[in-house]
């Protein structure tokens, strides 16, 4: 089996590509700052850390993937290449499960 697909490996669409979180996904915040994302239609649950929860929040249609990474790098204590790699892997997982939808916005 090959490595997990990452958004880094996908061809860049024309214009600016953004990922938008689906509004019908249930989001439960827990006291330890983790969150549980649950898609009732597919009965899929994805538990996420506080950091990954921040990525979810930024999938609002106003942030490109690069801008999401910029925000994370300014917020979290890790090297940018590491954050870039992890964030793209997580976004690819969200997209694979249909929790976010990709849109191209031409500016």
């Amino acid at each position: 089996m090959g490595p997990e697909p990452s958004l880094q490996e996908e061809s860049a669409p024309a214009g600016r590509s953004v990922l938008i979180r689906r509004v019908d996904v249930d989001v439960h915040g827990l006291p330890d700052r983790s969150r549980l994302l649950f898609d009732p239609s597919g009965r899929i649950s994805i538990p996420v850390s506080e950091s990954a929860g921040r990525i979810w929040d930024l999938c609002d249609g106003n942030h490109s993937i690069d801008q999401i990474v910029d925000d994370l790098a300014a917020t979290y204590d890790a090297e940018r290449p590491q954050i870039d790699h992890d964030a793209r892997a997580f976004l690819a997982e969200l997209e694979r499960h249909g929790f976010v939808e990709r849109q191209s916005s031409f500016q």
Binding site: D26, H28, L30, P31, D32, R33, S34, R35, L36, F38, P40, R43, S45, I46, P47, V48, S49, E50, S51, A52, L72, T75, Y76, D77, A78, Q82, I83, D86, A87, A89, F90, E93
Partner: protein, 303 residues
């Protein structure tokens, strides 16, 4: 001819298990004793005319049972006892209008419930029995109901599911199974500890998942991960999936959550026993991971 029609019952006992009412009729005194031990806190003076009829009958060389329309037979008492007990548990689960079922063993330490969550074969039963030897009260080795409003845990007592390998592991621990096990391989939780079960929620949630390791390990997991695990160990019930997720999130929020990778039985039971005692005496909230208050936050990708 149905079991009931052919039976001249020697005994008749009524039970109401979390809303599921049934009358047990049997001509086999030792089987009656087994079910009375199992459901002793659910004995009830229900209306025998409206309750479901459960029949256990010894006839010649075989044993037959019937629960409503469902029937079974076995050439040995054990097979028939386990068959009827399993049917009673399924009927109890199907009858639920409000409570949520979770596939989990439940033990008690003083007034706190500890749920051992995991799929079949994970080792919940064997570990539960080993923990009962360490002073904890085993209430069920298989399934518990949870009140979605109060989060109170209601264990459904079951005959403890031990296979040959489990018995060998317990005997290696110098655990002597009671006489009831030796006769019919039917062990009710009350055979191990007759203390009453307190009404409370789960303060400690432990997810058991292999593969078995050389050394047993307990690692904290996030509350959201535990909520997802609880969701994976529940079936069809009275609530929608989204409502279940909300309940499991609340359950995880009020508990310390761990993943257990089991090792040898003795070492694993000692490790879990130590965790339970540590948790019992820990200040409230001390298990919740904190976020650093100054500077950049720690990066935890995914989980």
């Amino acid at each position: 001819m149905s079991c009931a029609a052919a039976l001249q019952p020697a005994t008749e006992d009524s039970f109401c298990v979390f809303g599921f009412s049934f009358v047990l009729r049997t001509n086999h005194p030792e089987s009656r004793d087994a079910f009375v031990r199992l459901y002793r806190q659910f004995e009830s003076s229900i209306d025998a005319e409206t309750a479901i009829e459960a029949v256990f009958r010894s006839q010649g060389d075989e044993f037959r049972w019937q629960l409503g329309e469902k029937t079974g037979r076995a050439s040995d008492v054990r097979g028939a006892l386990w068959g009827l007990e399993s049917a009673l548990c399924e009927a109890t689960l199907r009858s639920q209008q409000r409570l949520i079922a979770i596939h989990a063993a439940t033990i008690y330490s003083r007034d706190s419930a500890v749920m051992l969550v995991g799929p079949s074969g994970a080792g919940k039963s064997t570990l539960s029995v080993a923990l009962s030897r360490r002073g904890f009260t085993l209430a069920t080795d298989d399934v518990a109901l949870v009140d979605p409003n109060t989060l109170t845990v209601h264990p459904i007592p079951r005959c403890v599911h031990l296979d040959r390998q489990s018995v060998l592991l317990l005997e290696a621990e110098c655990f002597h199974l009671p006489e009831t096990w030796k006769r019919f391989s039917f062990l009710a939780p009350v055979d191990l500890d007759s203390r009453p079960i307190p009404q409370c929620g789960a303060g400690l949630l432990i997810y058991i998942a292999g593969p078995r390791a050389q050394r047993s390990r307990l690692k904290p997991v996030s509350q959201s991960e535990m909520a997802a695990r609880l969701l994976s160990e529940t079936g069809q019930g009275p609530l929608t999936d989204s409502e279940n997720v909300a309940v499991f999130s609340r359950m995880s929020s009020s508990a310390a959550c761990f993943h257990l990778i089991p090792g040898s039985l003795s070492e694993t039971a000692d490790l879990v026993a130590a965790l339970i005692l540590r948790h019992q005496y820990a200040p409230a909230g001390s298990k919740v991971e904190g976020i650093e208050r100054s500077g950049k936050r720690p990066w935890r990708p995914r989980m």
